[in-house]
């Protein structure tokens, strides 16, 4: 097998996405040290964007830019943690399902289908409402609601790989089945899942901002969704409180979506030359959460 790196070509939007994500990481890490106190109230209430406050101030005179910078960290952390957790659950269950087969496979895939059919936002809201709105709970519920697709793709990959020559060779050498699964099959199945991880981060950030926008997020945490919620309450007076945090959410989700598409295209030689970037099963069909 050729090394992955040689096949990995990012296109233009892929590069934009990668650079934007890198910028976000820098802002999330260093930003809070560079901007002023996001909670500092002042007499300059509802100031439009200008020299003293780049993106204006809110109804309590707090700096919108400083609050957006702080919100970056929450969005990224929630997005990445939820996607990582979903990947852990999805890859494990998908690999077991495809490798073990039989009744285990049937039952696991039925469960995955059930989870895919759940209306994400409703369940997330109910979960957070009933069990408390901590960031941990939000991460957990988003992960629980998004592992299924990863599991299905992993399973398909494992089914494809498990009878290939190199696996049979390893088996003939007398390695244990669990070693074969974890050392040979899963690492080879991961590339197919990678685009889903990026798309999963995008989805998680969207879900988190929706929950905060509804006012059901973790209390006392500054998030982009919360900023838009506060902006909506000042809709007649302060467009900047709505427009700028919204652009931040939009560009971030766009970047992760484009990154997912680009990674999918780069890793999947079959679709690289053609336009449809993703295999149909990678396309999120849910318009859920409108």
């Amino acid at each position: 097998m050729k090394p992955e790196r040689r096949r990995f070509h990012l296109n233009g939007s892929g590069w934009f996405a990668l650079c934007f994500v890198a910028l976000l990481v820098v802002v999330a890490v260093t930003g809070p040290a560079l901007v002023g106190d996001p909670a500092a109230i002042s007499r300059d209430v509802l100031q439009p964007p200008g020299s003293s406050h780049t993106l204006g101030t809110d109804h309590l005179g707090r700096d919108v830019f400083a609050r957006m910078v702080i919100g970056t960290r929450v969005s990224l952390v929630v997005g990445v943690l939820a996607a990582a957790m979903a990947m852990l659950i999805g890859v494990t269950l998908g690999a077991v399902s495809g490798f073990v087969g039989g009744k285990t496979d049937l039952v696991l895939m039925r469960i995955a289908e059930m989870f895919q059919a759940l209306p994400t936002l409703v369940v997330a809201i109910a979960f957070v409402a009933l069990l408390g709105a901590s960031l941990t709970n939000i991460v957990v519920v988003i992960a629980i609601l998004s592992w299924a697709q990863i599991a299905r793709v992993t399973r398909a990959e494992v089914l494809r790989i498990r009878n290939q020559d190199f696996v049979n060779a390893v088996r003939a050498l007398g390695f244990r089945e669990s070693t074969i699964l974890f050392r040979e099959i899963i690492p080879n199945a991961i590339p197919a899942v990678l685009p889903l991880i990026a798309l999963g981060v995008a989805e998680a950030i969207l879900q988190e901002s929706s929950i905060s926008f509804l006012g059901l997020g973790s209390p006392d945490t500054i998030t982009w969704g919360l900023l838009i919620r506060e902006g909506n309450q000042q809709i007649l007076r302060a467009w900047w409180m709505i427009v700028f945090p919204g652009i931040a959410v939009f560009l971030t989700i766009l970047a992760f979506n484009l990154l997912g598409d680009a990674v999918g295209r780069a890793l999947n030689p079959k679709t690289r030359t053609e336009e449809p970037a993703l295999a149909p099963e990678l396309i999120a069909v849910k318009g859920g959460g409108s």
Partner: protein, 324 residues
């Protein structure tokens, strides 16, 4: 085919059972008295809690409790909302109608426009039209719907004043007949537009991918070789054969219709199921939360079945295997 469908129906039963069980377990694992949770955080008349305790068998074993729960569900009894002062079943059905009032037209518009856009992009693959439509679809996937909704309010309601900012009827108006209908319609336009935009991008994306894929199939060459013109081949052969993923998406979203508008309803203050859920959550009106959750899940299961049925109508292969 009949066998295939009966298998699908059979699978729907454990799914529904699982959902009901999950709802039941939720009320029991929550901290606090389940009877109080079934009533909600409201001062209930004295004796009502005792009545709930008796009706749901809360002093008996979990198995008996579960049986009592199922039996009350079968009687369409979802409890009483003290916040709204009416039975939950009636409340939810009333709100469901209002949600569907904006959701169904939005989904219909999105299906038609989405397939049209997707097909236009696929036919002109690689041209600037394709780029434009694809960019529209990718943007649509990344825009938070609630933000889009607020932007529409800012432009069309606040700045231009063409439409009302929120609600379903003009407060304090005493319109009747045609006037009342026009009034509701004016309130419907922006939420409907938001939802249509959101769903159009999803449908367009799936339609484009699927149409591009089937335009490379052998039957296209066959049809062209028979001397059919481009347009006929495109609509009758390519598009028809690419509709399965599109129908899946549309069916999926009809399944989510009742709760698919939570964010939009919240922004526009539209009195549907979504905003009912949000007020119930903030007020800890548990019977309503559970009812909405249950209804949403049932809708999804039912529409998955309907989508399966639709496949059979569209896919020529399914029909052939039925006759065989």
């Amino acid at each position: 085919m009949r066998r295939y469908l009966s298998v699908r129906v059979m699978w729907a039963i454990p799914t529904l059972f699982g959902i009901v069980l999950a709802g039941f377990v939720l009320t029991r694992v929550l901290p606090g008295d389940p009877a109080q949770i079934l009533v909600g955080d409201f001062p209930a008349p004295p004796g009502y809690i005792e009545e709930i305790r008796a009706r749901y068998g809360l002093d008996q074993s979990y198995v008996e409790q579960f049986v009592a729960y199922i039996s009350s569900l079968l009687h369409a009894d979802l409890g009483y909302s003290f916040m709204h002062g009416q039975p939950v079943t009636r409340l939810v059905f009333q709100r469901a109608g209002r949600t569907l009032l904006i959701m169904v037209p939005a989904l219909v518009i999105a299906s038609v426009v989405g397939v049209f856009l997707g097909s236009a992009a696929a036919r002109r693959q690689g041209t600037k039209w394709d780029t434009l439509i694809t960019a529209f679809a990718i943007t649509g996937r990344s825009v938070p719907v609630f933000w889009l909704a607020i932007l529409l309010v800012m432009v069309f309601a606040v700045r231009l004043g063409w439409f009302p900012t929120s609600g379903m009827r003009t407060v304090g108006s005493s319109l009747t007949g045609l006037g009342a209908i026009t009034d509701v319609f004016r309130h419907m336009v922006l939420p409907m537009a938001t939802l249509s935009l959101a769903y159009t991008t999803v449908v367009a994306r799936v339609a484009r991918t699927s149409i591009v894929e089937s335009s490379h199939e052998d039957f296209v060459d066959t049809a062209l070789a028979k001397g059919l013109d481009d347009r006929a081949v495109h609509w009758r052969h390519v598009v028809r054969n690419s509709l399965i993923p599109v129908v899946t998406v549309i069916g999926f979203n009809f399944g989510f219709a009742l709760t698919g508008a939570i964010l939009t309803e919240t922004v526009f203050g539209w009195p549907g199921v979504g905003s009912l859920l949000i007020t119930a959550v903030t007020a800890r009106d548990y019977p309503v939360i559970l009812a909405v959750l249950l209804l949403a899940a049932v809708m999804v299961v039912v529409f998955n079945l309907v989508t399966d049925l639709a496949y059979v109508l569209i896919d020529p292969r399914a029909k052939v295997s039925d006759e065989a």
